[in-house]
Amino acid sequence: MIRHTSSRAGFMLFEAMLAVLIFALGVLTLGKCVENCLRAEKFRREEGHARRLLANRMTEILSNAVPLSDKASEKWDKGPWTGMELTTTRAPLELTNEKEQELFGLYQVTLELKWKSGGDTVTRDLLFYIYPRQR
């Protein structure tokens, strides 16, 4: 990098700048890598919370502990589920038996969980069928 001849002395600063540029690019790339790793880790953590939340809510619904309406939303503002929004949708299943008779009382429940992660909106769904207790 160090030039000793006077005729090429002007080239040295350019070389130094180039070296600094390459080094800076390397550092920036490294930083980006770390940022991506942290983002992936944060997402993995959120994903775990989301799975647990969906599983918990499914158990509550199957235990008849949560009254169901056709559509309901819930948002959390504290705890591990901060910023997550759960939309519960219930729709009757249009099924028939072998005699082509309509089957009543069966519903499809969809749990849709949305949250913001790194500027993007992430959605996770859980779909299951229920046969609510006839009161």
């Binding site: 160090i2 030039r3 002007g10 040295m12 953590r45 647990r52 918990n56 199957l62 705890g79 591990p80």
Partner: protein
């Protein structure tokens, strides 16, 4: 005008300034790499700790859920729970009877046991707590056999299991499941009250589900899991 930073006319050797500059640059790179590696190691450590916490809860949930699947739909329930607060932290416990299976962590149990899921100090007077199963034999095989026809076994009475079962087997053993826990909260959904309640003392009824809330440290968010009790749901559907 662009000029060389260092110019030498007589010698090709490096000056002390150049060497110092090179060492400085190398040191900066070394420090940067060290910081990078250290922060990565810390991130990995936190990540694996978080994974372990979550897995511990998931595994515990699965074991308890498996046990709950075997609860009979009729007759007296053996599920009992106490809600206790000590110094602001929940130290609840829940117990059931088992003759071997997931809730006992073995299928080779002899006789009948009471299994308690609870939190307790790692050692006497220790400030570190852990969550685990406490297994206590309440009836041996011989006593169980003597209860088989024509006399029915005695009714399960909370807190009175040892005295009614004849000779206890001795000191209960302990299976640690979650080390370094801070609090254990257990809540039950009572379908008659349509709300969650602390503690369960009615052997004549079954809660619809059990909510386990585990806090690993005072400054950490608690994790909770809802565990269904299929026998209760089946009874409700009838």
């Amino acid at each position: 005008m662009i000029r060389p930073l260092f110019s030498r006319t007589k010698t090709n050797a490096l000056t002390i300034l150049e060497v110092m500059l090179a060492v400085l640059v190398l040191s900066m790179i070394a420090v940067a790499v060290f910081q990078f590696v250290r922060s990565n190691l810390k991130a990995i450590s936190l990540s694996s700790e978080d994974i372990n916490n979550r897995l511990a809860l998931e595994r515990l949930t699965e074991v308890v859920q498996e046990e709950f699947f075997s609860f009979p739909g009729r007759g007296q329930s053996t599920l009992l729970s106490k809600a206790v607060k000590v110094g602001g932290r929940d130290v609840d416990s829940v117990e059931w009877r088992s003759k071997g299976g997931p809730g006992m962590m073995t299928t080779a149990a002899k006789g009948e046991f009471v299994v308690r899921l609870r939190i307790r100090p790692v050692e006497r007077d220790s400030s570190r707590y852990e969550i685990g199963f406490e297994r206590e034999q309440v009836m041996s095989d011989a006593i169980l056999a003597s209860f088989r026809s024509p006399v029915s076994p005695p009714e399960f009475v909370p807190g009175d299991s040892i005295s009614r079962s004849g000779k206890p087997s001795g000191k209960p053993d302990w299976i640690p499941l979650i080390p370094d826990a801070y609090a254990l909260k257990v809540r039950f959904y009572d379908p008659r009250l349509t709300t969650e309640v602390a503690g369960w003392t009615d052997p004549g009824a079954r809660p619809s589900y059990m909510r386990l809330t585990i806090t690993r440290s005072a400054d950490e968010e608690p994790l909770d899991a809802v565990i269904s009790i299929p026998a209760a749901i089946a009874t409700q559907q009838q």
